[in-house]
Subunit: 425 residues, 2 copies
Amino acid sequence: MKSEIISIGDEVLIGQIINTNAAFLGEQLLLAGMPARRTVVVGDEPGEIADAITAAWTRSEVVIATGGLGPTHDDVTRSAITAMFDSDLVFSEAVFADVQAFFERRGRTMLPVHRDQALVPACAEAIRNPVGTAPGFHIRRDGKHLFVLPGVPDEMKVMTTSHIMPLLRSICDTRIAVRTLQTTGIPESNLADLLGAPDSLPDGVSLAFLPSTYGIRLRISARDTRQGEAEELCRTASALIAAKAGDFIFGESTTTLAEVVGALLRDRGLRLAVAESCTGGTLAAMLTDVPGSSDYFNRGVVTYSNESKIDILRVDESILLSHGAVSPLVAMMMAENVRKSAGVDFGLSTTGIAGPGGATAQKPVGVVWVGFSSSDTSFACKYLFGEDRIRTRQRASQAALDLLRRHLLGFPRSSHIVSETVILT
Amino acid sequence: MKSEIISIGDEVLIGQIINTNAAFLGEQLLLAGMPARRTVVVGDEPGEIADAITAAWTRSEVVIATGGLGPTHDDVTRSAITAMFDSDLVFSEAVFADVQAFFERRGRTMLPVHRDQALVPACAEAIRNPVGTAPGFHIRRDGKHLFVLPGVPDEMKVMTTSHIMPLLRSICDTRIAVRTLQTTGIPESNLADLLGAPDSLPDGVSLAFLPSTYGIRLRISARDTRQGEAEELCRTASALIAAKAGDFIFGESTTTLAEVVGALLRDRGLRLAVAESCTGGTLAAMLTDVPGSSDYFNRGVVTYSNESKIDILRVDESILLSHGAVSPLVAMMMAENVRKSAGVDFGLSTTGIAGPGGATAQKPVGVVWVGFSSSDTSFACKYLFGEDRIRTRQRASQAALDLLRRHLLGFPRSSHIVSETVILT
């Protein structure tokens, strides 16, 4: 079965609001076994709304439209659709009771305009809104389904999961299984090389590469009429990919690298401290974004000035002068000294040129040394991350976490990205 | 003139990626005076891509498509469009030189697949990609324009602002003037109250409230065929609003509060250090996201454990035990001690319950004390930021910066959000 999503609202079209509704619905439709083939965004204009819905209705069996159902003058979806289906608006006592109950719960006064929220197209069945005033509606015709929901994300979500999804599951016997593997430390093209031709995967499995600042996510999906088989196909494909991409894979789904490293540290009762120069707090923030990180994250220092590197980290002034702050020796001393002063198991550090200023011929914008220190080893790795300041800071933080993950799991260091490694202990 | 946006990629359609590209392009097209009438999202399927582009191309003078230009097998946009325009791919030496230079800058090895990035449809002009390997292209026909860009947001953005926007501005004589004022420290409904009825603004001016984690942005826009008049209307409206919202406005456009505070510090030759507990590096990262912040940002410490608060910040252990780490006294001591140990002019600190764990009856999730210290005053302010961990950390960091901004500009502390203030000097 085919499905489409229609988002209605000027504010989405002009970028005032990011279309998170379509992302939510896209995922739900995929899980229901009828992935959306198209999403269309139109403004609050009856002709455009009717056009978009008519075209989707012609192509697909299931259409979900959101937005433009509120009580104000720019909410024209309901009347556009009523006209399109040559129907009339009728007053629904049941919906009116819901609207009244909503205002009572909030202790707010109902205005005349809210009474009109109980008007529903005669050709439709109302979908009750448990968290707002605008009902949705559902039109069935010739085995096709049009669902229309309010655009407020919380209202749209609860109405989708409580009303639409059970119905879609009952009419569609295809299931899609999805697994996402997350990699870091390897560029997209090298990863594609490593995995080889897509036909090495079982029939019926698709593989997509989803790049982000932090690495490439691999989305494996399989479609089947029996849930078990699709899941099994995904599992097999996932194992095949894991055998090839091995230690570049750090987790599944939406897990962050900081969560993975945090879980490893917590399980083993180990603790971490970090010393940051070019990442300026980004690494500590990634670690402490994880709830419960105080179990293993002891402290961080952002030694942005040479003075603070000397003060807090006891980095030797003569080394700062002779080697420069952006150097493997300083990176290692930062990692080692923060580890020792905190009395913890691991120290990580970053020092580099995030840019746009500060570059020299030997040290271009994007160069970062990441330092690592444990009781038995210290080393520093050099990375080249490109010209974007914010991205360099994020990628350097991710690289530091990956050094620790690889150390904890006994993996070798990544052969990609890192262009030079110095081991001094 | 009419415009449309087409986003290409299964990952967008199935909700794995939220379509921020379309929001960015929607805003840009609005600014160019040709607001998008429709956005369409299709998957990585040549037939669907050609269908969507053909339909948009029939209806509108300007079409911008993004996505599916990378080097892997699921990147099919280029071939779909080449076929649609009955053209061929030709090798571009100029693009190839860009791709080579990209790999040299990164110190990475170019693979055979990257050579193909230099293939461009013969009917198109290449749009150079300064931050990635996939070029965009531009097809002109019968006074219409089709732009095709990579889907990686940073690449798409820079190519839009540097190449497409100047061209669109030259072909469209309608101008929309836009000014955005950024506020922080005041909830949306209070701000609306403060500004009064929208009809107090000049005719032809629209005002939109755009809420974000960091505050409410006020977008003022006016449309005119003569640039001067629209600009003038926006300026007048902006002055009227500034007179009412006064010290809640910290800047214009996309300026961050960290940039504003940074510029104030630099101008006056003053320096800052921060001590973070619940924000865990977020505040330091916000400050150091700004290029050149080493001029005024001396150091940060992330004292996540009580032990590190005692070690690094010399917070009295008995006070930690009697008052708790989340207390005004500890917030003030953290700010004062980091200022003194760094030998700088200002210290800022955060200590709170970001959640989900750690709450007590007296200290619910979302409570944060922000500390401030200068040579002549120390104080702490209490905030209640709600249940979302990440948002609380961001809002607490923003609140800390706003305390410093208000201090530097001689403004009183915000009467909103802050539910309690203790001044102990």
